[in-house]
Amino acid sequence: MAQVSMTVNGKAVSGDVEGRTLLSEFLRIDLNLTGTHIGCDTSQCGACVVHVNGEAVKACTMFAAEADGADVGTIEGQANEDGTLNVIQQAFQDHHGLQCGFCTPGMVMSTASLLKENPKPSVQEIRTYLDGNICRCTGYHNIVKAIMAASGQDVSAIAAE
């Protein structure tokens, strides 16, 4: 066992972990931050995307020990300070960009990274960027639309209901 310390959603946390403990397990089990979801075992689905030192990372692909000293952000820390949905979260609700909600935390976290790198992505850039985030419910239409809207772009031309 080794002790790890890190900042998660702005709070200092620490815990004892095995060498094989994944960051996703540390977040979910030790810190009870269960919004980070596990949808696969091959780093494909993206339900576990978190931010580590500002970069989008699949938390199932990183050992907790590797995040020692890091600044980690999870879905639980994304809302505005007053508890209201942030711009990305609000866009997902406004455009029905989620159904069962399981892939959603990863989608929101990946979107935040995308918009940080590319504040006005094209539809194709969004679709390409989401290569590592799988959704089975929405057919992606409303996810792409929500991300366009979150980036302040006009979505009225996107095929409506």
Binding site: G39, I75, A79, H96, D131
Partner: protein, 796 residues
Amino acid sequence: MPKDNTQTDGGIGASTLRREDIRFLTGEGMYTDDIQLQGQTHAVFARSDVANGVIKSIDTSVAAAMPGVLAVFTGADFAEVGGNPAGWLINSRDGEPMKEPKRPVLAHGKVRHVGDAYAAVIAETRAQAMDAVAAIEADIQELPAVINMADAVKGGSLVHDEIETNVCFDWGWIEDNRAATDAAIKAAPHVTTLELVNNRLVPNAMEPRASTADYNKGTGEYTLYTTSQNPHLTRLLISAFVLGIPENKLRVIAPDVGGGFGSKIYHYGEEALVLAASKKLKRPVRWTASRSESFLTDAHGRDHVTKIELACEKDGTFIAFRTETMANVGAYLSNFSTVTPTFLHGTLMAGNYTVPNVYVNVKAVFTNTAPVDAYRGAGRPEATYSIERVIDMTARELGMDPVELRRMNFVKPDQYPYASAAGLEYDSGNYDRQMDKLEAMIDRDGFEARRIESAKNGKLRGLGLNAYIEACGIAPSNLVGILGARVGLYDAATVRVNATGSLAVMVGAHSHGQGHETAFPQIVADMLGIDPESIEIVHGDTAKIPFGMGTYGSRSLAVCGSAMVRATEKIIVKAKKIAAHMLEASDADIELVDGQFTVAGTDKSVSFGEVALKAYIPHQYPIEDIEPGLEETAFYDPANFTYPSGAYACEVEVDPETGKVTIEKFAAADDFGNIINPMIVTGQVHGGIGQGIGQALIEQTSYDSDGQLLSASYMDYAMPRADDMPFYQVNHDDGTPCTHNPLGVKGCGEAGAIGSPPTVVNAVIDALQRGGKNITHIDMPLTPSRVWDAMNAKGV
């Protein structure tokens, strides 16, 4: 009662944003694996790595002595308990009942597919349990596996020795029509024959299956948290068939569930195992599938091999459809595996058409593969694909426009109720209207110009259009009982008005993405004239909700929503009596308008809230005439299926250099009857189309000849990504209301997955034909290699 689709006051017809989104978007959802219990332990399963084998011995002694290990179970521990049953008895053409081999909690004696669990370890941590599973010494003698259905029906290696065949049943529908259909086809001027494969799919809900059992030794009660679409059905199966736990001692909770698509309808052995283990250890036992386990053990979908014939007059008038299908049921009968290829498929084989003769033969075949069961659409996608592909082929052979051929054979609006030749009574529809709308949505008139433009870029452009009809909300119970169902197919709702005027509505349906928590209150709010925000939907817990059958087959709104309407009607009747007392009037004179009970023709009124308060604080109350409280339950058993229908169009470009298909446009014109929340309905259609396009273009479940699943991860199974999908045009205005349920609603959950696969394939074949390639069919998925191979085959 329903208002038009444009209402925006938060009642019926409003695209109210989903209230459940708040918790999902902030990480506050509570899925089964998120639930941590004091003293919990972890189960991990030992699974067969061969497809067929005799279990000679299992030595668990080393595993049992490993650190943290609390218990080890094998099939022998469950030899005396019941099996997981098939929910529907199908009789063969000769009247013989289907073969129904036992499906045990853990494999005993034999393993029958890769992933078949034969032992389980319970340990303090998941890692310890995994280490101990690796130390189990199982001597399993591998036998030849039977993977391919054509091989399976010939006999040879058997999946279940005791039934002496690999054919579960040989079903005819409608058997009495067989001779007439054969004769009609023999005499027909034109017959088109198409052999096709409806490819096997893995449902792949993003949340893997998970189950946690918590046995309370003080009360003898079990609580099972599990990823289920229907907690009461799961409880019934465990209680009545598998473990014999009395229903009153078993509480099943399906909390937030991350998608189902059919795969979480069924009871699985892991649920029984954690229950038994929790009782033995007197501690909670949890299990969560890895994605690899999901691929190997979730019930798969589709997997039909079909020959369909369409006979018609020279002018295109349909005379007969005749279908021969082999349907793979895998190694064991999953709960709905026998009804899916039969009544959910054969009864739809008249499609949207006035064809006089239909006959369907289905052989269900055991193989050494994962069980196959209902997956989004469940039988209707298989029917629609066969019908709508063979019609396109017929149109080409007759030199007719494929849309005109369909239109001339459509059931017409003045023919309802229409008794189809496949045994259903369609209550409503307007297929021409959907097709009119579709042709405008896809801009069919502009296609030729777009095709020429594509050709300039070296691409082949094609357009596919087709109709579909499906059947949702399977019912009534009396009829399905005659047809072999072992369950009823009603649903239930309890409406509880709280003393302060807010409501809890307990429903048998389960929401795992469908947005019931938002849409259902819209209905009750409309009926009572109150704010939807004051209504809470309670679902997913057998201790809280009435006995309902859950969510599958696009039944929730049509069946459970109707029960909710009936219960709310009872609330109104009683509330009017209370109001009449308060207003010193006759209850026949009380009107409920916008949440106010008013004596007709006067200005005397009391609010809904005042009546609720009076019901719970019954002072100066006619206690001898009216019970206190305001809570009502209704069970609703539909008179018929609902029949959603529609028309779908897809426009593709094919790159002749690579065979790659790109979807340029996709349009869906659906008839779902009345609409409660258009935004949610649109989302349901999007998702279904996404899965349908996935089936048509990329998804393929591949077993090798030894029964190893080659596509067992997201690196090998082509799950649709955002970049594989187009935007979709969706329209469901102007529906024809269902005539037999109080809301006039039909099901919308599966339509997209039913209507779209033939659309995509028809478009690709159209592109190839227009490009001068004599290709009449390619089996799904239409991957670049399959398309390229077809284009470069000899003689094309």
